[in-house]
Symmetry: C2
Subunit: 514 residues, 2 copies
Amino acid sequence: MKFEEAKKALYDLQGKLSAYDHAVSLMYYDGATTAPKGTAENRAHSLGILTEEMYRIATSSETLELLEYLDKELNPAEAEPVETAAADEEELFRLRRMVFLMLKDVRQMQKIPMDEYVAYQELLVQADDVWHKAKEASDFPMFQPLLEKIFETQKRFAGYCAPDMLPYDYWLNEYEPGVNMEICDRFFDALRSRLVPLIHAIGTAQQVDDHFLWGDFPEYVQEKLSVYLMDLMKLDREHCGLSTTEHPFTTSLGSHLDERITTNYKRDNYTFSMYSVIHEGGHALYDTGSARDLAFTVLDGGVSMGIHESQSRFYENIIGRSRAFTSLLLPKLRELFPESMEGITADELYRAINRSEPSLIRTEADEVTYCLHVMIRYELEKRVMAGELEVKDLPQEWNRLYKEYLGIDVPDDRRGVLQDSHWSGGMIGYFPSYALGSAYGAQFLRKMKETVDVDSCLSSGDFGPINEWNRRNIWQYGSLYKPDELLDRVLQEPFDPGVYLDYLETKYRDIYRI
Amino acid sequence: MKFEEAKKALYDLQGKLSAYDHAVSLMYYDGATTAPKGTAENRAHSLGILTEEMYRIATSSETLELLEYLDKELNPAEAEPVETAAADEEELFRLRRMVFLMLKDVRQMQKIPMDEYVAYQELLVQADDVWHKAKEASDFPMFQPLLEKIFETQKRFAGYCAPDMLPYDYWLNEYEPGVNMEICDRFFDALRSRLVPLIHAIGTAQQVDDHFLWGDFPEYVQEKLSVYLMDLMKLDREHCGLSTTEHPFTTSLGSHLDERITTNYKRDNYTFSMYSVIHEGGHALYDTGSARDLAFTVLDGGVSMGIHESQSRFYENIIGRSRAFTSLLLPKLRELFPESMEGITADELYRAINRSEPSLIRTEADEVTYCLHVMIRYELEKRVMAGELEVKDLPQEWNRLYKEYLGIDVPDDRRGVLQDSHWSGGMIGYFPSYALGSAYGAQFLRKMKETVDVDSCLSSGDFGPINEWNRRNIWQYGSLYKPDELLDRVLQEPFDPGVYLDYLETKYRDIYRI
């Protein structure tokens, strides 16, 4: 095979896989947003078949041969003449990364027997359906057998793919390459040591009044706010759609040229949807910010869940819950919700938006208590994956840890162990990314402020320079760099959770006057 | 190959093709309902690839070998011992029909070069996008080059598939097997000879007042009416979804177990959406009424466009615009639209709903003038396909025929030649199905009335016996019988457009007291 031919075959292969990915992602998206309730079985049928087809293409001997040829050509032993001379260094770097990522995937997939892989995809479709019903009925035992199978499969697959690694380490590293339990333990210990005293201090301070955020807010008015926020964030609505769903998420369909975010409107408080739109909008900005020519390749979209959450939580909290942004928002909120916002000052809005209080639901938690929600999930996953905790005991342990860490009683599984969609989606090992991403984001902010006047951008409602900094430093690269490489490039200093903790302490000591 | 093995392989193949069909149909559905406006190019990329994959599977030598083996086994020369002894007659009949339909498709597809086939699918995605924009801008020249390519491709493909047939005959027969220009000409002549005098008589009679159907009707109230109608028609909303779109349509996703209908709300008159819901609901009842074990096979869903339209237009007009049904609806309309419906009697509603007047838009036309809209399209398609008319002259000819047949001036292409989505979707030869279907429906009604008291079902709001008759006679069979076989089985007499014309004359002479 000639190098140029192989290069074309590589792009064709990626294009083909992205079309299947489009189909599969669209079926999940449709299932979560539009599909009638009784259609999960039909979807599972099609998803099973298409996933199997994708698997066949990705692991075929033809694919492997192509990737191995390119791997050899792109990473030649020294002094050996190579056929790649025609390509420039930038292109070679890109091709190397594509081949590396694809080979890694193929070699992993080859280790998982196809029938088990397909059965697992079908299990996940079923689990999603049952989880929704179990959550509605607050009935963990309904979901338990499926969750047992999911944990069991994740352990088994980790064993196939990386027999020398602990299963949970394997999955942590999948979501955030470079991360393992040791790193997480250290990271969470650092958070715990400063967050617990901070939460305690907040708990004994004068509480913040947020009664005016509660009321009766029709969905169509909240929808107007969503559109306003998307435009404000400069999301390109020609390529980014908005739908409603049970549990908000973001997905690319085939490439970053078709992005979808979702939200969930709560009639009694518009800020839940508002911040979910900003959070998912952050994911969408990252995805859609990939360089145009990464579309239909494996480098398209974000590099890891941690970096992804660094963007979503950056927009949601660091930007979205800042004093400058909430001041900017005030006139719009007065326009949309005139009765409840009458006479409310910018300072009152800022403090209400940042009200901190131990609570039941992770996605609704304030910035300070948020990481404790994540720690609880990390703790539980770690123990189940290590065989130290049985799935059937998860609700009880969940409730015990909420009492221990946050001091609150969990009234039912709907607002407890069944609240998140991650486990039903097989995303075990994902949660730490939220906390890591939050901490990355704080350090990005410090760096950004060296060249961008973030507050004055927000005061004037111009997201341009903020987005541009993120695009130039992070978004455009898609998955071109490994997460730790990207962090090094952007920060030019080691990752330090202390920056995040400083940010939180300064912010909350001001808000609570402590 | 053993027969039992081959049988399993046949079902697996159909299952696989239905998964691809699910993906492709969902992408079109998404494009028409939810997708952001700028995503057509991304969708075209994925659709091109998946269509090519489907084509490869459907025409592979493995597929052909399987089908030819089964064809031989299922249709043995006399007295030859066959391996099929284990299968019962019903199963053999079903297998024969599957193999017949699939072989017909494969042999046809093989005649079309793959690159041309794939290019055409991509052309259709682009054409759909451009048609939407051209319609919005009322700009036919924007759409013209694409429409030229579509007509040209349809002619070329007909030439590949059936070199001995006239291209338009080929496509008519594709949508309604057994039908050709000769049959259509005769059918339309029959309609013309009695409809034109009827329309003339209506035009000179005292006109019907329908002012109370016009006003300002918010979308969310109209949506309530849609849901009420779906429930009334006994559409299973667990398996049938409702969305909004520019041009209403119905689609199955992978199988009849996931059906979607769409509608379009016009703020100034709720009856447009109301009758589009009933029309698409008729399609959906037919699809979802397939026997459960036809799911994921080529026999799933309706047999032809004519029979399909017989169901949609049966529910829309014969049921939906009947005196009994409009009386049933009156209290609901009074509840939803109290101001405009105040003091309106059942007779006034019935007559208003059936107001007849030559108009611009086919989908909004009354029952009497409707077929003239279809005739105009048939006439134009026939002439373009015969090379007697150029695509660039379509607007002018369209407008001339509207003046000639319906006596009205077409003010712009948006409400003229650009109004329908069929041509941009490559559905040339489809339109006659609407008129044929309408006529089939009237004859079905006469037959149904032999055993079902249709009016008293409607007065009591019980669609059960009506649906049950259709299910038993038509729906359950999917594509098991050819359209003309099915007609024979149901009617037990020849198809006679006179029944439809009698129905229309009786109805409209009563309404207009002529």
